[in-house]
Amino acid sequence: MLVSTNVLTSRSAARSLLAENGSLAALVVLVVALSLMSGDFLTVTNLLNVGVQAAVTAILAFGSTFVIITGGIDLSVGAVAALSAMVLAWTAADTGLPWPLATLVALAVGVVCGLVNAVLIAYGKLPPFIATLAMLGVARGLALVVSQGSPIEMPEEVSRLGDTIGGYLPVPVLVMAVMGVIAAVVLNRTYTGRAMYAIGGNEEAARLSGIAVGKQKLITYALSGVFAAVAGIVLASRLASAQPQAAAGYELDAIAAVVIGGASLSGGKGRALGTLVGALILAVLRNGLNLLSVSAFWQQVVIGVVIALAVLLDTLRRRGGR
């Protein structure tokens, strides 16, 4: 409903949006197809569910968008999300820190992880793949160390982030929207955002144009870290407990969302809106397959095929346009 009214009310705007953002077309096709196949799909509640289910991936993916635009990659986002949430729950539960402070500490953990990544990459000249893979191990390991392997309960106040407002609007969707707007503004309007595109497009040209590449990478990865922390907190709030294994493997989903959204892993390209669409495509797909009761073993197959088709639609459409 959400989507279909939009499409109907402002056709031409929608058309130009679709033309500009191929993945959006894929999402629309997917939504239409699923509405036809399952009566349970196109209800307000279910669409809100999809939003909630997309939220964590989307927030992680917004952070990854920054990194990917600079031509890097961040494999540590899932682990950093888990570690941040764990630190929040742990400082609140074990050291009795008030929850707002504990939340700040958790965000700081995200920033620090990001900065360490960036230092290794920008000054240690490590390939981003290796630096962030190392951070994946370290952050996941530390989450286990902190928790001694057991989940820790989240402070109740923070857990509200997993609730709904007025019984309808889920807070994770709200947080996703806010983080998305922040990502879009950073990318489009700030110095750092523009620098990210330049660095990813041609790092040497950026450097020779006076952009402090090292410093901008610090900001980029720190942003990715803080977005991961937010995602981790939202995730833990949904579960009301911080889990050491939370968000394991989400880094691939996040990267997939960014790339489905039209970014290139070689850098210089990518948009927040595209990333959101990418995350929604993944969530819609999983939700739809559940609703259609596709057998568990076949689900992975179908998800794989549909992802390929969705992006294929995008590339074919773009080539047709030429």
Partner: protein, 298 residues
């Protein structure tokens, strides 16, 4: 009789199940144990004429919440939850509660939210049983290594806890190493191989599941079952075969198919508004060469 025989479950008579839609979210299907659990559930659903939809949460607690949410969208009449993590399952239960759908927990309990029924085996008790059995096999002395499951999962935590409590009773048994092999057969092989280098005098192995135990047996080669006794957990078909072959000394058998069957039976009852007992205990039992027929029969 043994636990596996009372297949008619609690209460008599077959529940009326025509057109009952049940959703079941399994923690992972990448493990034969849970495949058995699912198969047991599906067989029972078929028998009762209920529609069972099984989803795979891929060991991700939040994906599991998503799946329960999706079940509510599909207006399931009852939901069977095999939690990825007992603590993290509460929100999923609450989601269903809001839509007034009864939830049953299977294999692992749920902390922090009320389910109408828990069908489970006791992992702490199982860990203890494993300790006792291994002690018996070793003549109450020797060097033991523990292969741990995925760090942070309740199954690993509880079995480890039960085992270390149980093994304390035998002062001559020394746990010389505990290393994670993530419930995975390949990792069990590699980690055991490595541990044999630093602890060549090992005489006993406790693996927190059969998959790792089978990997360890591979690493031990000819020593398995002779110089080194291996105790596993689950009683999977491959595990039982190894017991028969003498390479695996024992396995703390769970009865996943029975768990699944019981869960579906009671889910149908709950869906029909009947009262169901709060717990169904499916006991764990040590499977050895001597009592193997009790397990392979079912």
């Amino acid at each position: 009789g043994s636990a596996g025989t009372d297949s008619s479950g609690s209460g008599g008579g077959t529940p009326a199940a025509a057109d009952v839609k049940i959703g079941m979210s399994v923690s992972t299907l990448n493990n034969p144990y849970f495949v058995q659990l699912r198969d047991g559930a599906e067989a029972e659903a078929k028998k009762l004429g209920a529609t069972l939809t099984v989803t795979d949460a891929q060991n991700d607690a939040s994906q599991q919440v998503n799946q329960v949410q999706n079940f509510t969208s599909q207006s399931m009449k009852a939901i069977i939850l095999n939690p990825v993590d007992s603590d993290a399952a509460a929100p999923a239960v609450k989601v269903a509660e809001r839509s007034n759908i009864p939830v049953l927990a299977v294999d692992r309990g749920v902390n922090g939210a009320k389910v109408v029924q828990t069908v489970a085996s006791d992992n702490v008790a199982g860990g203890k049983l494993a300790a006792e059995q291994l002690a018996k096999e070793l003549g109450e002395k020797g060097e033991v290594v523990v292969l741990q499951g995925v760090a942070g999962t309740s199954a690993s935590r509880d079995r480890g806890k039960g085992f270390s409590e149980g093994i304390k009773a035998y002062p001559n048994i020394k746990v010389v190493a505990q290393q994670p092999a993530d419930f995975d057969r390949t990792k069990g092989l590699d980690v055991m191989t490595n541990l044999l280098q630093s602890h060549p005098g090992v005489t006993g192995v406790f693996a927190e599941n059969d998959e790792m135990a089978l990997g360890a047996i591979k690493a031990l080669g000819a020593k398995a079952g002779k110089q080194v006794k291996v105790v596993g957990f689950d009683g999977t078909p491959d595990g039982l075969k190894a017991i028969e072959a003498g390479t695996l000394a024992a396995s703390v058998a769970q009865q996943p198919a029975l768990l699944g069957q019981q869960a579906v039976q009671n889910a149908v009852r709950a869906a029909n508004g009947e009262q169901v007992p709060a717990t169904v205990d499916v006991p764990v039992k040590v499977a050895t060469k001597d009592n193997l027929s009790e397990f392979t029969g079912s």
